[in-house]
Amino acid sequence: MRASFVFSEVVTGLRRNVTMTVAMILTTAISLGLLGGGLLVITTIDQMKQLYYDRVEVAVFLTEDISANDPRCTGNTCADLRAELEAASGVESVVYESREEAFQRFQQIFEAQPELRELARPEALPASFRVQLTNPERFEVIAQEFSGRPGVDRIADQGAYLEELFQTLTGLRNATFAVALVQALAALLLISNAIQVSAFTRRTEVGIMRLVGASRWYTQLPFLIEAIVAGVVGGLLAVAGLVTAKVAFIDRVLAGVFEAGIVPRIGYADIAFVSPILLLVGAGIATVTGYVTLRLYVRT
């Protein structure tokens, strides 16, 4: 009896303020959708970090002198440098790339842009050591130790470019979270408002129930469940929104990037991982807002 009572009260309540219910659900959905988007960006960043930091190299570019005259790295300066690099702590491997090899690689990379290939001359490209680090964060140490040494022109860290990329992504994530937060605030106020309206339109009924000896909990539970239902439905819509966004937008626009393996694909597994979080957050926000509203504003 109790369950059916609560259920019928909830349905009546949600139907009585349809517009309010829809507004409440939509704002919650948008907020949770953005939160989900932000969470997906985080997982993507993590996956990208794993993907890239494994491949990241430090490039130690060599001076014009060595580049031009020592294609096999047999001269003293070059061979010493290599030996020292190999001996440095945190270095996994050292590969020498001569001017000729660098030029070939350049031709490969820009295969699609013949104009660039035409323009390039081997003399413009320096020879270098490609240094793989066991720990990418060791770059600073290597850079300090070897910059300014004879034969070394400059040291570049690919990680630095990645860092910039990740910073952009993190900024994107933070912006998403900020909008999600503002939306969450709107959702919160709407939920609170809807509960107050619900309680107000049913105040006579609730008054009668209270007179017959119904506890506050008994009469207010339906209002709370109304809010929770809205929160959960909002969460489901948010998940549906993420799936739609993946299929209709991300998979199409970023298809090339995914194919090339530059950015890891956002899979259904990632969405499946985020979904329960969104549902829980939706239900949680609704519960807390509902409870606080009932305690503070609804007296009967």
Partner: protein, 229 residues
């Protein structure tokens, strides 16, 4: 059953107290009329007993509860043992007759099979056995009041409060309602009825407590409504 000790109640919006130092005692099983003109404090009296209001001064006891000092979460327990009936019936308009009566039992967590057994019995007692599936708006005023009485009585309350229960009813229908109240009283339930109805008070010859401007002015054990009113 009921004991008021020097009870005063002043509402914030008014300078004159609605009840002014009222002391009165009602024993278990009594039938008492509470009379007095509008604004004399009858409704306040009843609202204090139900803990819809708290006294400004003094103590209100119902059974063993000090009603004014009752913790808020325990108020439902009091109300589950005190039935009440009003001039405007106060039925749940979206529930059937049977559901309205059943509600009072659901609230106190009675099992479903008990509810299925007890509700028809009580509806039978108030003479509504054929109308259990009707909605309140399909019933006459007298019938609605009987539903309200069935709901108030179904828990076998210690005390039944009736606030002008006949105020909206024709005289002969009022008589039915009074007969029903008497029947309920004979089961041992204390009945306290606030009323304006001279003829009912005069014909029943029960204890009469009269309020005027918030003060208790008369307490007759077998009274009439009063001369010249």
């Amino acid at each position: 059953m009921i004991r008021l000790e020097h009870v005063s109640k002043t509402y914030k919006t008014s300078t004159r107290p609605a009840l002014d130092n009222v002391s009165v005692e009602v024993d278990k099983g009594e039938f008492v009329f509470l009379i007095g003109p509008s604004g004399s404090g009858k409704s306040t009296f009843l609202r204090l007993l139900l803990r819809e209001e708290v006294p400004t001064k003094g103590d209100v006891y119902v059974a063993d509860w000090n009603v004014g000092k009752l913790a808020r979460r325990r108020v439902p327990q009091l109300r589950q043992r005190v039935g009440c009936v009003f001039q405007d019936f106060r039925l749940l308009t979206n529930k059937t007759v049977a559901e309205n009566v059943a509600f009072a039992l659901e609230v106190i967590g009675k099992p479903r099979h008990t509810i299925r057994k007890v509700v028809p019995e009580v509806l039978d007692m108030v003479g509504l056995d054929g109308k259990s599936e009707r909605m309140p708006h399909e019933l006459s005023g007298g019938e609605q009041q009987r539903v309200a009485m069935a709901r108030a009585f179904v828990n076998r309350p210690l005390l039944l409060l009736a606030d002008e229960p006949t105020g909206n009813l024709d005289p002969d229908i009022s008589e039915d309602v009074m007969l029903l109240l008497e029947r309920i009283n004979r089961t041992g339930t204390t009945v306290l009825m606030a009323t304006h109805n001279h003829s009912i008070v005069d014909s029943m010859r029960r204890r009469v407590v009269e309020l005027q401007l918030g003060q208790l002015v008369r307490d007759d054990s077998r009274g009439v409504y009063g001369v010249g009113r």
